[in-house]
Amino acid sequence: EAGVTQFPSHSVIEKGQTVTLRCDPISGHDNLYWYRRVMGKEIKFLLHFVKESKQDESGMPNNRFLAERTGGTYSTLKVQPAELEDSGVYFCASSQVRRGELFFGEGSRLTVL
């Protein structure tokens, strides 16, 4: 069974540009989470979907970040316009039950120059 997959694995963009990260959760997992780790810091929660609905988006830094989950399947996280401080590794995770074990993808490393 395929795990959580994320694309791209690495993206380098210039300040002011737009980037869209994609996450495909494990099939059948209704819960999908986005997290971010900035270099040397802790992994921080961004938001949580249950199917297509945003359950908790308290961790989203600002309105430059937009997350969607079309039809309760894959999810995208768009950063527009990107700023230098947005650089980091963005992790997606999914779980079969709410508050259950999280299965993480390998992450998408974003570098904003």
């Binding site: 959580v4 819960n31 989470y33 997290y35 040397g40 810091k41 802790e42 992994i43 921080k44 929660f45 961004l46 938001l47 949580h48 359950q55 908790d56 308290s58 961790g59 992790f91 995770a93 709410r98 508050r99 074990e101 999280l102 299965f103 993480f104 993808g105 390998e106 992450g107």
Partner: protein, 114 residues
């Protein structure tokens, strides 16, 4: 404000030794404490977890010790092996609905020397 404080930042242990990583939390609403293991280029993976109604949980060579009154918990890796070299994150989850995001520590980079 960092809600879960993890130490040390890095740790070198000889093969066969005991690796100990400590975490402390502030929010008494936390009721689930997992440890995640991350290898380079991979995502974090759940290693072991504990709830505050027990003081210790053991799975193979990995043990979590939990001190509710001190709001501290630690990971012990017995007979540490080179394959245990990875980054370890402690985390905590609040009880109750609506807040399902884990709060992570900053991570510990563990190196087991052969």
């Amino acid at each position: 404000q960092q809600q879960v404080k993890q130490s040390p930042q890095s740790l070198i242990v000889q093969k066969g030794g005991i690796s100990i990583i400590n975490c402390a939390y502030e929010n008494t609403a936390f009721d689930y404490f997992p440890w995640y293991q991350q290898f380079p280029g991979k995502g974090p993976a759940l290693l072991i977890a504990i709830r505050p109604d027990v003081s210790e949980k053991k799975e193979g060579r990995f043990t979590i010790s939990f001190n509710k009154s001190a709001k501290q918990f630690s990971l012990h890796i017995m007979d540490s092996q080179p394959g245990d070299s990875a980054t370890y994150f402690c985390a905590a989850l609040r009880r109750g609905g609506g807040a399902d995001g884990l709060t992570f520590g900053k991570g510990t980079h563990l190196i087991i020397q052969p």
